[in-house]
């Protein structure tokens, strides 16, 4: 009996090869699309949650050195090194402050003396990279995006390393003439390998950069410059050096290291107060700017990002629903058409002794076969393009739901169709 049912299902499929093939393609593509969307939706959702977890209770402020011209000149022309020591102490105290997390994140350009792709140059986003390429003393120099960062930058911005290693304690110690370890954003992966060296000039200091790792893709840092989240993918990440020796480089580097951010739970006033106390404690009247982005933009940047991510996740959900509804409706309508075409065959089967239940089983079997084959193809494609278990499980459940809905629709349609009515015309 099962064999007969299978044979009948096969015959129905053979009678409608074009429709069945199109349905299979439709189901497969919809499932692949859904699997993809679901994976992305999950990623967005996760990211939103991560951000909430990471920054939910924290306020983030941007910091920048705010020495006036006089102070700056005095500081850079102080050959005794006293002011440099004071600044180094201030910076060190800020880095090690326990009531808030201060980190250096200074977007200072670096001049690369090796050929650099346009996408890494300043001005690329504005379509103007010409100013970023110069020839000086016969050497081409490429002004490239670079971030100078301290240890806490990674934790405060949830930046993860994809390959290689992160910065270690000794990487933050600058020794002139030695290779400087750098991390590269994910976009660099196709151009450089771990261990590669790059000739560069940073704050008028020649240095050789050595790649020690690559950052993960989709990593963002809170940029005071752009007043937004900025992707790390096109940045060279330099460690915020500690330099014992006094030099013009060490002086301006230390100043630069005051640019960054503060993650705080104690509020802007108290944070500012602690910073000023640290500065005044060193006997100087300098200042650093501490900006609360909430007072700058109409919406806090973190909240905005989190909201955006949640919105994207929501949009993905809507897409999944639309794709599913479309696939289900298309499947149901085509099944109705197949059932209509096979009405006479069902009638003959009834004459020969089949029950209504048996006929329903055949039509459900057809739906099952189409969905199963579509599901198998979609699963294989999703697996091949590297989709995770979550999307695979999701599409299996989706197929189950579509199967139930389609079978129920077919059941009522066939009931209405009066498949047993094969004798005589309409009375």
């Amino acid at each position: 009996m099962i064999l007969i049912r299978c044979k009948n299902i096969w015959k129905m499929m053979c009678n409608d090869t074009v429709v069945v093939t199109l349905l299979l393609l439709l189901i497969t593509s919809c499932l692949v699309l859904t699997g993809n969307i679901v994976q992305k939706q999950e990623k967005s959702q996760k990211k939103a949650e991560e951000f909430q977890e990471q920054y939910g209770d924290m306020e983030h402020y941007w910091t920048a050195e705010a020495l006036d011209d006089l102070d700056y000149n005095t500081y850079t022309h102080d050959d005794t090194g006293k002011l440099y020591d004071k600044l180094s102490n201030i910076r060190q105290l800020l880095w090690s402050e326990e009531q808030f997390q201060f980190y250096t994140c200074s977007p200072q350009p670096i001049e690369i003396k090796n050929k650099m792709e346009n996408i890494f140059l300043y001005g690329y986003e504005q379509g103007n990279t010409e100013c970023s390429v110069q020839e000086i003393d016969g050497i081409m120099r490429y002004t490239t995006k670079c971030l100078l960062v301290s240890e806490k930058f990674f934790d405060c911005n949830n930046i993860k390393i994809k390959t290689g290693r992160g910065f270690e304690e000794e990487d933050y110690q600058y020794n002139k003439g030695e290779n400087v370890p750098v991390l590269l954003g994910s976009a660099y992966e196709e151009y450089y390998n771990i261990g590669d060296c790059i000739q560069a000039e940073y704050l008028y200091e020649d240095m050789t950069l050595q790649v020690v790792g690559f950052l993960d893709s989709d990593m963002f840092f809170i940029s005071g410059l752009d007043q937004d989240f900025t992707s790390t993918e096109r940045y060279i990440i330099l460690p915020a050096f500690r330099i014992d020796e006094l030099s013009f480089f060490s002086q301006i580097l230390s100043l630069s290291e005051l640019n960054g951010g503060i993650a705080s739970q104690i509020g802007i006033s108290k944070t500012k107060q602690i910073c000023y106390d640290i500065i005044r404690g060193q006997g100087v009247t300098w200042n650093i700017n501490i900006v609360n982005p909430e007072t700058v933009g109409s919406m806090p940047v973190i909240e905005r990002y989190s909201k955006m991510t949640k919105q994207i996740a929501g949009q993905f959900k809507i897409l999944v629903v639309l794709v599913t509804v479309f696939a289900t409706v298309a499947l149901i309508l085509n099944m109705f058409s197949i059932l209509r075409k096979n009405k006479y065959q069902f009638g003959i089967e009834m004459l020969c002794g089949s029950s209504y239940k048996g006929i329903f089983v055949e039509s459900f079997g057809l739906v099952f076969v189409i969905l199963l084959v579509g599901d198998m193809w979609a699963s294989l494609i999703l697996k091949a393009i590297g989709m995770g278990l979550y999307s695979l499980i999701f599409i299996q459940s989706l197929v189950g739901a579509v199967l139930i809905i389609t079978c129920i629709s077919c059941y009522f349609y066939m009931k209405k169709m009066e498949i047993g009515k094969i004798i005589g015309g309409t009375e």
Partner: protein, 220 residues
């Protein structure tokens, strides 16, 4: 008595727009009888055949076959009952075009869960009787109308049913082929199978043991 129906009513549509197809139809058919049903189109003949063949549930009434209550059978029981006791012959043959003569005749036997070997023996015998042995691998669209009807009769007889329900079996055939089919039905009846036939042809109606005329859903 083979079958008995009492006050069978069948109506279609909703209450305010109801069409009555059968109205208080009562009928008794003896074993081995050749009953002819006549009447104009739309008088309820086919509906009555549908009810007798358990393809249509009556709105009201009783139906007994060999003393067994048919109306209250489940869908599965009705299917089994149909398969075992009733053979159908319809005007347009009701053959599956994508299946061979052999496969078409085998269909009710598969539902009967008969073994492959038995099916083959049964079909060979039937095809021999129908003088169709050489066409068992042919498809219906390769056969003439008369041949198609003989295949349909072979299929109706395959499970050796007690009753054959024939709805205009000669309606789609020319006169000569129609006559042959009628002779075949008579032979089947003479071998002991009850035949209930719907026809418009009064000459063929004379071949039955009894003729019932229907009008507006009633037996007159």
């Amino acid at each position: 008595m083979l079958l008995k129906i009492d006050n069978i009513n069948v109506s279609y549509g909703k209450k305010d727009n109801q069409i009555v197809a059968l109205k208080d139809v009562s009928l008794q058919v003896e074993k081995g009888e050749f009953l002819v049903l006549m009447g104009k189109s739309g008088c309820g003949k086919s509906t009555l055949l549908n009810v007798l063949g358990t393809l249509k549930n009556p709105t009201a009434g009783e139906y007994y076959f060999n003393g067994n209550d048919v109306i209250n059978m489940s869908d599965r029981e009705k299917a089994k009952f149909r398969n075992k006791n009733i053979g159908f012959i319809v005007q347009h043959f009701a053959l599956m075009n994508e299946r061979t003569v052999y496969e078409n005749i085998a269909l009710p036997l598969h539902y009967m869960r008969m073994g492959k070997r038995e099916i083959k023996e049964r079909i060979d015998e039937l095809l021999e009787n129908m003088e169709m042995a050489d066409r068992k691998n042919a498809y219906p669209n390769e056969l003439s109308g008369g041949q198609c009807q003989r295949v349909a009769i072979a299929r109706a007889l395959a499970t050796r049913p007690e009753v054959i329900l024939a709805d205009e079996p000669t309606g789609a055939l020319d006169e000569e082929t129609g006559n042959k089919i009628m002779q075949l039905l008579q032979r089947i009846n003479q071998s002991g199978t009850t035949v209930i036939m719907v026809t418009h042809d009064s000459d063929f109606a004379k071949l039955g043991d009894r003729c019932i005329t229907m009008k507006d859903g009633r037996i007159v």
